[in-house]
Symmetry: C2
Subunit: 193 residues, 2 copies
């Protein structure tokens, strides 16, 4: 018997992606978002919901560009800080000691120490109450060589992205590899049911 | 030095959410999606991108409702199967042995064995190339009592949601609890920088 909890925002799990932007004075900024995912494949896009009062919202509207930075779990403290403080009040790169690097393809900075970066330009935007849902076209993905697997793509177990739980506001690290996708489910077709 | 991988869909981590719908003949169906997240909070909504050729796409358009089912990692085989096969060709609940239950609040079935369920009605939809991005208003959340924490909300470590890696197509389980969010980052403000 399941318990009804009402219409709450309890979508588990969520990422803890860090959005990199430039402010009006070229100041690099970083903000953590969890309401984010891949949006579509043609063109390749991510989507993320950002509160309209945020500094990052203002920066994205002005530059039409941002980066998505996937930090490994060793940066849990820095990733949390990026979501706690406004870039209007602090130089977040300076406080965390992390390094902003100008993207090659878009007008936004990325976090040098994070293993995986998506460079995006705004493709479209949707009003979503007090947030705006920005769809960003991925112009390039950059990754540290040591997180790439045999097929040349970033492996989950090497990137070790932080896992976020909304509602309860918890960070977890990634656990063990369980199974390859688009594969293990086939076993059910041959079992007796 | 980061390696450029080109404009690829490499957003890590992703969920492996199972979307429950009814077909035209009342047949309950389940399909796995990874391009999904919370969309906005007013009203509380999730968003998910679904290929326009899919049975689930047709079902959502017809009933204007769906459920989001968060399965624990013990169901990795079933969750993968739900993403491999079309409901046009198979009775996926029958093959997996999982139990469809009619939702209380919306016209869609949920997966009884999964610990966390979001009952949604279509709030808006956005064309996204060969997919449609459905925004679903959460009308109720239902959870098994044994995944709730002290504050009455589902805990990540008790739900144990599957973690998906796009590109490399890998499933991982959840790892250990690292830190509370909106909290641990404060330590950086008091350290010498």
């Amino acid at each position: 018997m399941k318990k009804s909890l009402g219409p709450k925002l309890l979508g588990l799990p969520a990422p803890a992606w860090v959005v990199g932007t430039y402010g009006p004075d070229e100041k690099p900024n970083a903000m953590t978002v969890a309401w984010a995912s891949i949006f579509c494949s043609a063109p390749p896009c991510v989507g993320l919901s950002i509160g309209q009062r945020h500094y990052t919202h203002e920066n994205i509207l002005a530059r039409r560009a941002f980066t998505v930075n996937v930090g490994s779990d060793r940066y849990v403290k820095e990733i949390d800080y990026f979501g706690l403080v406004s870039g209007r009040d602090a130089d977040k790169f300076s406080v965390t000691g992390l390094t902003p690097v100008r993207s090659e393809k878009v007008d936004a900075p990325y976090v040098a120490e994070f293993p995986l970066v998506l460079e995006c330009v705004v493709y479209e935007e949707h009003d979503a109450g007090w947030t705006t849902y920005f769809v960003g076209e991925i112009r390039d993905v950059k990754a540290d060589e040591d997180v790439l697997g045999e097929n040349g793509l970033p492996e989950l177990g090497k990137v070790r992205p932080l896992i976020y739980g909304s509602g309860v506001r918890q960070y977890h690290c990634l656990g063990d590899h369980l199974a390859p996708a688009y594969s293990i489910g086939r076993e059910l077709e041959t079992e007796d049911n």
